[in-house]
């Protein structure tokens, strides 16, 4: 007979509410973007968000590498000076300093180049049917992998995660992992990521190891990093951040030791 197991509580409600409150602060970016772009939201919700929207737009322009306008914008305050009540975009991600924005822009340029290349490669391959077998998916993936590898034969670490962008990414992620949810975020990343991979040797153009599960990339991390198209993903292998080409199943670039111990 089934009976519902009863356990002693380990977490008090106030603690949970506190956690919720903290997490709620991280929500602002997506919400503000929606509020700015969509008509379905209740207009009254926008009233308190106008300043946040303006900040977000400014940060986005900077982050996406609109370098020509960097110098025209006022220098935002440093992350460390942001009050704890500030929206997530200010408290965790930035706003980016012009120097940081410029550094990330170098990565965006490389990303664009990579996507141009893989688009050409993809066009040269038969289109994967919308209802494919695992064998067809695998075959297509391996064909793509081969062509990407050939086209980027001289690629090396740092070609996409540029030397300029790396320290900025490391710093931004350190601030995320050092934040109030840092422990939980690291646990989420390492969940299903245990068997991995100090032993896995990462290589640019290397196939994503077949036996390594795809690890979680928490939304807070995704929000912090430059945005990707749906053909590329950020993933973690062990404590390394990788840029995964989804269709080719190839590691396009990586940064080691980015998840703090």
């Amino acid at each position: 007979m089934y009976t519902t197991p009863i356990r002693e509580p380990k977490t008090e409600i106030p603690a949970e509410l506190d956690r919720c409150r903290l997490e709620a602060k991280h929500m602002a970016e997506t919400l503000l973007e929606l509020e700015a772009k969509s008509s379905y939201e209740d207009q009254t919700r926008l009233v308190g968000s106008r300043i946040g929207v303006v900040s977000l737009v400014a940060a986005t322009i900077l982050a996406l590498g609109a370098c020509t306008s960097c110098n025209q914008l006022p220098t935002p305050r440093a992350t460390s000076e942001s009050p704890s009540s500030a929206p997530a975009t200010e408290r965790v991600v930035g706003p980016l300093t012009p120097a940081d924005a410029q550094a990330l822009a170098t990565m965006n340029d490389r990303l664009r180049q990579y996507l141009d290349l893989r688009t050409k490669i993809e066009r040269s391959l038969p289109k994967l049917p919308k209802e494919a077998t695992p064998q067809q998916i695998d075959k297509n993936q391996r064909a793509m992998e081969k062509l990407v590898r050939e086209a980027r034969a001289t690629a090396k670490p740092g070609d996409i995660f540029t030397p300029e962008a790396r320290p900025v990414i490391q710093r931004l992620l350190a601030s995320v992992f050092g934040g109030p949810d840092g422990k939980q975020l690291k646990a989420a990343i390492m969940d299903e990521n245990q068997a991995a991979p100090s032993k896995v040797k990462l290589a640019v153009n290397g196939r994503y190891p077949d036996t390594v599960p795809l690890a979680t990339v928490p939304p807070q991390v995704l929000q912090t990093l430059p945005k990707l198209t749906e053909d590329l993903e950020y993933r973690f292998i062990g404590d390394s951040l990788i840029l995964l080409d989804v269709r080719a199943h190839v590691i396009a670039d990586f940064i080691e030791d980015i998840v703090p111990k």
């Binding site: 949970e16 772009k37 599960p213």
Partner: protein, 296 residues
């Protein structure tokens, strides 16, 4: 000897009584089970999440799904993500999906997948997941019922705009949304995704969504109705997290975290009946809910 005969008679009577009561298995003695009515013409489906591990327990739960299908002919299974955990080679699709659910697939049951955080996006092309190459999509398996699959790992603004448009355009009585990360969950490992809730819940409320199905936390939980919407976490299809439900969250209407489980449901008119069934065939939760009817 006489005692044994009487015991046998009693057991037979008990089984007859249980069979007459509808489609359900053993239930907690403290509660009256709500049987799935198993009506002709009703819409029947199952829900499965976080299942693709390829181990014995997944197979055993799959057997229960097939057993149920023998007497409760559900048309489809919606998956709430983490469909293939670990490696995703062609042989993994077999071992973690095609073999365990072969009886259902052979019986014509269709699986409609949403993707989890451990799923490769290439799964959208896998024909048995019926995603037709899309990361997010909607489908109507029967008049007045529509499902919406959402990719909650990457809730990009364009996807959210798509969801709103789809929800707004749908005049269906039943709008059921399914995706991986739960808006409400008492799972200690992940819990409620508050960022996602902030964005999606207003859409669900505005556009008359009645039921939301998720996974991610490897437990079964029926959340107390939130603003009139029913939320289920069905991440209990494979790698279980025993004892992972935080009973003090205040969210749980019914939780089950001691064995694998899936959910079976039946929509008849304005009612949706549901059972959660464990790996051992026990009905660990059951009930009936009424669809939302908001007036513009």
């Amino acid at each position: 000897m006489r005692i044994r005969q009487w015991s046998s008679v009693a057991l037979v009577l008990l089984l007859i009584w249980a069979g007459a009561a509808g489609v359900h298995a053993i239930q907690s003695p403290a509660e009256s089970p709500v049987a799935l009515p198993n009506k002709d013409g009703s819409f029947k489906f199952s829900v499965l999440g976080d299942f693709g591990v390829g181990d014995q327990k997944q197979f055993q739960l799959a057997d229960q799904m097939a057993t149920l299908h023998g007497r409760f002919k559900y048309d489809l299974v919606v998956t709430v993500g983490d469909n293939i955990l670990g490696s995703e080679r062609p042989q993994d699709f077999q071992k973690k999906f095609e073999i365990p659910y072969k009886p259902l697939l052979d019986a014509g049951v269709k699986f409609y997948a949403s993707l989890g955080n451990h799923d490769s996006r290439e799964q959208r092309f896998y024909k048995l997941f019926n995603m037709e190459g899309k990361l997010y999509y909607s489908f109507s398996p029967k008049a007045k019922i529509r499902f919406f699959a959402f990719d909650s790992t990457y809730p990009e603004p364009e996807q959210i705009r798509w969801l709103e448009k789809e929800l707004a355009a749908s005049n269906d009585d039943w709008k059921i949304v399914f995706f991986h990360q739960p808006l409400y969950s008492s799972g200690r490992t992940h819990g409620s995704d508050l960022q996602l809730r902030e964005v999606l819940e207003p859409l669900f409320l505005k556009h008359n969504v009645s039921v939301v199905l998720s996974g991610h936390d490897h437990v079964y939980e029926r959340v107390k109705p939130q603003k009139g919407i029913a939320y289920f976490v069905v991440g209990s299809g494979g790698r279980l997290r025993v004892g992972n439900i935080d009973r003090k969250s205040g969210l749980t209407a019914k939780g089950f975290d001691t064995d694998q489980a899936f959910m079976a449901a039946e929509i008849s008119g304005d009612q949706m009946y549901f059972n959660a069934i464990s790996r051992l065939g026990q009905t660990v939760d059951s009930g009936v809910l009424t669809r939302r009817k908001i007036t513009p």
